[in-house]
Structure formats: C-alpha cells, structure tokens
Point group: C2
Chain length 428, copies 2
Amino acid sequence: MRLSKLFTKTNKNLLKDESSISGQLLTRAGYIDKLSAGIYTFLPLGWRVVRKIENIIRQEMEAIDGQEIFMPVLHPKKNWETTKRWEIEEMFKLKNRFNQEYGLGWTHEEIITPLVKKFVSSYKDLPVYVFQIQTKMRDEARAKSGVLRTKEFIMKDLYSFHSSNEDLDNYYERVKNAYFQIFNRCGIGEKTFLTLASGGTFSKYSHEFQTLTKNGEDIIYICQKCGLAINKEIKNEHLSCPECGNKKFKEEKSIEVGNIFKLGTKYSQPFNFKFTDKDGSKKLVIMGCYGIGIPRLMGAIIENNFDEKGIIWPELVAPYQIYLISLETKKDNQIRKISEEIYQNLKKKGIEILYDDREEKTAGEKFTDADLIGIPWRMVISEKTIKRKSVEIKRRNEKDIFLIPIQDIEKFFIEKLKKINKFFKTTY
Amino acid sequence: MRLSKLFTKTNKNLLKDESSISGQLLTRAGYIDKLSAGIYTFLPLGWRVVRKIENIIRQEMEAIDGQEIFMPVLHPKKNWETTKRWEIEEMFKLKNRFNQEYGLGWTHEEIITPLVKKFVSSYKDLPVYVFQIQTKMRDEARAKSGVLRTKEFIMKDLYSFHSSNEDLDNYYERVKNAYFQIFNRCGIGEKTFLTLASGGTFSKYSHEFQTLTKNGEDIIYICQKCGLAINKEIKNEHLSCPECGNKKFKEEKSIEVGNIFKLGTKYSQPFNFKFTDKDGSKKLVIMGCYGIGIPRLMGAIIENNFDEKGIIWPELVAPYQIYLISLETKKDNQIRKISEEIYQNLKKKGIEILYDDREEKTAGEKFTDADLIGIPWRMVISEKTIKRKSVEIKRRNEKDIFLIPIQDIEKFFIEKLKKINKFFKTTY
C-alpha cells in the first residue's frame, strides 16, 4: 500500500475525548475514527488488524473443531422472553413500524440454543461446537476508553453442546488451550492470565482471561507459584490458590480479553432442549460458552505494546510487516527508482509493505509517522544506503540500525516470517 | 469436512413459508435457517458460500483501488437529520435508556461523507475510493423470499469521491467492469444485464445489474442489439435503446443484484464537504456509490442454477469442490480405508472436500443429499471402482459418469481448479 494513496492521515495532537492510551494511539495513527461515544469506524489500517486477529481466532476455533456460522443481530423479543432476559437494561430494544419488537444481540444464547435444538435429538448428534464472528450491540453506560468498551463491537462467540458434564469439562480444557494460543499469537501471551471469576447465576465460577495493563479496570491476584489469577470480586473466597495451595499473590491491574463459562442447563432448560441418551432417557443438553471481544483485544495488545512515539505491533497482528521510507532528493531520481523496485518486488512475494512515497513530506515527518503507526520493521533507502547497495533496517521495538544488501532483502524477510509462522503453527 | 460431524442436516420436505426457490433449497440443504420473517442465520455451508462471494467482491474492489473499512451499524440521529433522511420509514430507529436516538444503517452515505471529509481538503487528496462489507438493516415490509429480500443482510458498499464529474465518469466505468467480473465469477455473468433505471431524486438515471429469473420481481427490456437493458419503470422514456438506437427489446423477469449511482453533490452539500481546487477555489466534492447485497446475490445464483434435485453451485462460490461418497459394505473395511486416505490426501492439498462418512445413511440417501447440497463434483468410491483402482466422478450439472485412476485424482482436480482460477484471474 502506498501512503500517498491511503485516504487517512495521522494526527500528532493529543485528543481530549480519548482517555485510554490505545484509543489515543489508534485514533492518532489513523486506525479508527469515532462516530459517537462508544461507536467507531475501523479505517483501512485498523480493519487489516481486525481481520488478522479474526483469522488467528478462526484458525484456533477450527483447530478445536468449531464450525463457523453467522447469526443475526436483530433478535425477536420472544427468544429473550423465553429466558426471562428481555428486561436486561444493556440490551438495545426497538419497535418497528409494524409494531414488532426486536432486541439487538449482545450475546447469542437465545438464538443458538433453539437453532442447534433443530438438528439434535440423540446423543449421537452430540457434541456440537459452533462459533461466529459477528457484531454485538450493548447499551454501554461507560463508553469512554476507545475500543476497550464500546456500544457496538465484533465478538467471537463459541457455544458447545454436550451429553454429559465430563464431555463439557474436556472441551472446556481444549478451549482454554486454544485461548492461550490466540493470546500468544496476538503478542500478549505472557501478560495474559487465566483468572477465576464469579460464575454469575448459573455456575459458581467461570474463567476470564485477564491481560495486565496499567490502566486496567479490573484487579486480579496472581498466584506466584502456578500463575492462576483470581479476580478481586471473589478473592475473599480464596485465601490460598485453588490450583496449587500457595498463599502468595501479586495484585495487578488488568483488562478482561476473554471469558469462558460452563452454562450447564441454564439455556437448554427454558428452550426445553433435550436429547435421547444411550439408555433411552431424555436429558437436558449441557452447554458451554466462550467469548473474545475483538476490538477490546486489539486495544489490550496496544496497551502492552507502545512507547512515547506510538504503537509497536506484534508481528502477527500488524497491518503491514515493513514500513518503507524512500529518502529521495530532488536531484537524484535513482533512489526513488530503486525504492519502487524493492516495493514492487516485495509486494509480489506476498510481503505486506506500506510504502511512504509521499512527496510533500519531510524525512522527519516520515520517521515520526513510521513510529506512530508502529509497523514491526522500518526500511530506509537513501543516498547513503544505495552507495553501499543496501537498505537500512530497524525494528520498531529495538534501537539497532543495520544494513542489508538489496539482493538479500527478500530472503531476509521471508525467513523471518517463516520463523514466526512456524513458531505459532497450530496443528489441525 | 466430514458430514458425520457437520451439525446441520438436510430436510427433504417442502417448506410452507418459503415462496422462493432459493429460499426453499438453501433451507432444505442446510445453508440457512430462518429465525423470524426476513431474518436468517447462515449455517456452516451457507457461511462458506457468503465468505467466498465476499472474497470475490473484495478482490475486485481492491483491483479498482478500493480501500476497505468497517463502519458501524448504529448511527446517531444527527447524521440523518443533516440529510433530512431521518424520517424514512424503512429505517429501524431506537431510543436507548439514556434517551439517545439511533438509526440502524440501511446505507452509509450519512457516515462515510463526514468521515472522508475529515481527511480531504485539497484536490490532491482526491479521488478517494472506500468500501466495506457490513450488515445493513431495513424494516422490510415484503420479507418473504428467503435471502432475496430480508430485514438484515450483508452488503458491499463502495463510495467514491472526486474533484470533477469527468473523474467520477471514468471511475463509474471501472466499477461497471468490476461488477461484470464479479457476476461472471459468481456464475451468473451471462444472465446479468446492465440496466438503465431511475436515478431517484439526485440524478436522472442510475444503473442496476439485473439477473434474469423466472420469479423475479422486476421487469426489464433487453436491447436485442447491444444488450443494454431498461427497467420497466422508465421504459416509456426510451422507445429506442439509448446506447445503440435499436428498437427491438425482449421483456424478461429479473432481480436486481447490484446498483451504481452517480450521487453528484447530493451528500457533500448537506455535510458542506468542499475541497480546494487547483485554481484555489472551494468546490463541493462529487460522489458515487455502488452496492451489492451479498445474500441476494447468493439467492440469485441459485435461482439460475438448480434442478428438481437441488442446487447446482458454480465452482467459485461452491462451499466445497468435491462431495465424496464412500459406499462401504459392512464386510469390506477396505473401501472405508481408501476413502479416508483420499479424503485426507485431497484435504492436505487444499482441495475443499465434503466427505459423506455417515454410517447410518443408505447409498440412496447420500446420493440424494449430494444432489440437494449441489457440490460441483461428486466422487464415489465403491467395491466396483476399487476393483479398477479408480473412483467414479460425476459433475453435478452433467449426466456422464466416468472413472479416474486413484493415482490421478489429485492432478485432475488441481488442473481443473487452476483453469477456473486462471480464467477469472483479475489483474491488480
């Protein structure tokens, strides 16, 4: 992509109405645009990041046998009356011109349960694992932290259906592993902790995945022996770690990036979703649900990957791998020509490259934008580098600058990308 | 994918509440599920088709320099008051618990215009081409034809911004070509006609892309010389073809699968979106907009590609390329083993294969499902074929059955798929 063509622009000024670091940086670097409180547009760079995160999640969901579907946002009132959740105040509700009432989906148990019921009658039809990546709507009172807490957001929600609690327990562990893999690939694995939390009305406990951030809205206590965390809301119930018995915890601020629930029969009950078991008896289906809010995950990645100059994207979620700066001078057209060649060549090889070919920008402005936008590798082509038949390379999160011969660039990046992909390869 | 794992099931009964052929077939074959009138879930097979269509469209939009973004569904009332379109009755409206009013987007001019305005000030910033693939909501009175006319649907909408009418005219022609390419790749190119239609309030004419179907809700008149069609609503104004002057037309029933509009300054005016031109004068930005409803396109594909047994998917939008039927007998485990090997092997090579490995189904039931689901190639492995070290191949839309040696299967399909991809290759 040529920056001269990209229709968005960076903005160097601090924004008054964005309280979070990620909201500030994403807006200033041209990833998102606020339409209204808690409602954002994803601009070309931001949408590339969202789609990369979506694809990581999709791969991991398929690796644990999830089948992808796409459920509506508009929900008939009767589905929510069945579970007595129509009155929940965070749900947007509307009446149309024909006096029909709809709620806008903030979760999809009320839709997925009767849907899967249509296809399941026997234990032989179970288990079922279904997920979607779809927009959720929530009448959020505290929409103020960029994409961390919004009224409209893309969410991956997975639902599982089982014939026994043991089967749910087994699958629950597989989902835990898939979630850790997702956070690893998104570059926040080391900062993300499985956290015991309140289970709501239907189960004593649930699990959250909490990512440490200085500005987090949650507080967790991390066991210093096994690494399990406990959410502050239930810390009183756990003086020692329920996993290893240890009593030393570290208090940290954090933000929830995922949660997993054993729902049991909470939703199969009101929808009377039963199956015939091996012995011929009719039993309620056992369910689990597992969510990840994608813009929030995007925000959490930045809250852990930035410096005073801007964003520092982890490789696998960066919108592009290379930010190419061509420092041509007016008298020397040669630099421009070589830059064009390198750009075209890397693009052809499938390497994602953002080419700062803007003629009206100074070198300083280009370096500032490169840091703000936060692409993992910066490549500079100048009179100095061309004299040595090389380009200058710098990683966004490192200080070292080094030269690579022009003839080796392609190999260098293909090797780097191979290594990253290999490291995170999921076995299907 | 193994059919024994796929959580959906086919349904051989005709449905009372689906008046369209595509709605019938998509529901019975397990592609979609109706939640409520005009509101559908896309099931795993259906979602694969939607994503294939999306990717074809995405490629063609990128080929004409479109930049992809993602705008919200929730729109603040004030954006729609600016253009005096808040009162349009097809727009769903809601008031939240804090008394804020929102409309649900049925189009996005009211969002994209002020958004692009933020980044454009000079003629140097133009043109801008932006598209999204996003859910639209419309309080549809006539929701009754499956996915052809719904209250919630995924749409590709492209918006272009220009400094002159000439520039808009040039881009408009590029979009026309991209649209024909999309309909070609979706297998309905020959049945789809560029159609002169009413332009609404802001332009005398617009263009629709109309696909012939026996049950279409529109009527068009196709020029028998140049192939331009004219929508019935404006046929009186055109006794001869405005393109070639010919007077012979053929009347056909059809359905609209896309439309393109020259908006002019209709939206830049109310948002006061001006740019500074070369001569220093301030001028209103000239706009165009270009839409394709994706579920409707999916429905239109089927309305043109079915027989009494079921769907006949065109190759590039089929959810899978091969439907593999293993006719194992209880006494012979060999057939099952070979089928498994072929399945695993083709899957590894990236060939999309749906494996009917269901043990409880008869051969007849498997053949019936294969035809209903409509995968382009059917592959049968039986005692008879194994004796000849072969598999039996049949195209869904042809009668011939032929044998291919097991060792040649991979090559056969890879060649076929290469040919298709090459034929439709878009130059970037």
